[in-house]
Amino acid sequence: MEEKVKDIDTDEQQEYIINIGPQHPSTHGVMRLVVSLKGETVKNVEPHLGYIHRGIEKMCESLTYQQIIHLTDRMDYLAAHMNNEVVCLAVEKALEIEIPDRVKVIRTLMSELTRIQSHELFWASYGMDLGGQTCYFYGLRDREMVLDIFEETTGGRMIVSYNCPGGVMYDLHPNFQKRVKEFLKHFRKVLPEYDDILTNNVIFHERTVGIGPLSLNEAISYGITGPSGRASGFSCDVRKHEPYSAYDRVKFNEVLYAEGDAFHRYLARVEEMRESMNIIDQLIDNIPEGPYAVKMKPVIRLPEGEYYQRVETPRGELGVFIISDGNKTPYRVHFRTPNFANLSVLNHLVKGFKIADLISIFGSLDFVIPDIDR
């Protein structure tokens, strides 16, 4: 790598360079940020990636479409279900299969549960990044309930591998509805506590309000999607603009703010948890009867062509671009992962802020490092 080696002694600016990462408590994974400081003020941040690059796109080229699914789990492991779903939707669209209603509703329910658990982990780890360690345990305590729901139906807690082209792997567990309702009841009770501990806390306000502001035009130019983009007023919810699964039959609000600072990126996620609960409320009692999967051929061959499919993950827009040459394995698979695009804005956001704000901004963008490295 052609590193720009900066000699501290000869540099006129006398930059103080510290490495945050590869192992660091607040990078949430294996990522290295080379930070140039002046005093405590950040002058430049340069992310160094690739510590956990696994070459998923290359591996996909030698696997069948059913087998790709289990790899996508490992990209954004907090949104494993959506990662599965995007490939399935692309394949189903390419084959022009009509998916049963039951599958659509199951996928939507699972997606929203995934969104809630992902945002809960965000809430937990963001609190911990800012020094409120207790948040982490409260967040994980409630997240466990969602993971139990996942485990009961899919057999996996985080890496669910629940989708398959044409439907889902297994039918919903008989306890599913009961458990989800229990969880929603519990979560509605504890969400105000979350607000008491963090959202309304004056120290939290000091640490986040006005930190790392992002304007609408910048958000669009940098390709910031998801709650981070919507905090800047960028209406980018794929569920609204290009409804997939059962999102066209539920009512929900797209959470939009204009300020675009760390606090509103946080707030957008907390509000999205409430919206997700509303969506689940609308669907949980009317899961249509029917088959949980379409009977597919054992070997799926996509017609020659190019397919692009987007879904909304908790961190933004996830796109999959499949080029098929008619074989049973894809010719080229490219994932447009939300974190990868969101990362590009980091340097722009943190310039001129303190090193403590770097942690705050980095946390508010909610990165999952394997999603960047793929």
Binding site: L63, D73, S161, C164, N200, V202, P298
Partner: protein, 160 residues
Amino acid sequence: MRSIINYLKDIFLGVRSLLKGMKVTSRYFWSPRSIVTEKYPENRKTLVMLERSKGEVIMPHNDKNEHHCTGCGICQINCPNGSIEVISKIIDTEDGKKKKIIDKHIYKLGQCTFCGLCVKTCPSNALAFSTKFEHAVFNKALLIKVLNKPGSQLMKGVEQ
């Protein structure tokens, strides 16, 4: 004057928000019932795993040491990362025909990603997930398992 009122208001609102947070944490402190820790090794006897939990792939055998596996190798084809290796052998059946049966169904647990494709695609339902999750061993070789028990046979009536 207004600035002084704002200054005092800031202090009041700030302190109130802090006290609200402390109310939540101190309430949890005084309510031992809210503890969610599982005392894992102690509760092994009473621990109930969820039935679909993916612990490892097994091949269920009945009392007569019979299984469903015909040795077709579909699980091997479907496995994304080569954790399954099916070794079959040809034997002569009683009526003099050559027949392919399973010799060893090798399952590499250390490589398995628990995608569930082998269990789902098996045409004779020979494979299943068990909920056993304590797989830690000191030797990597122990993670390579042979799923069909020694001396086991194909269950009568399972289509070849």
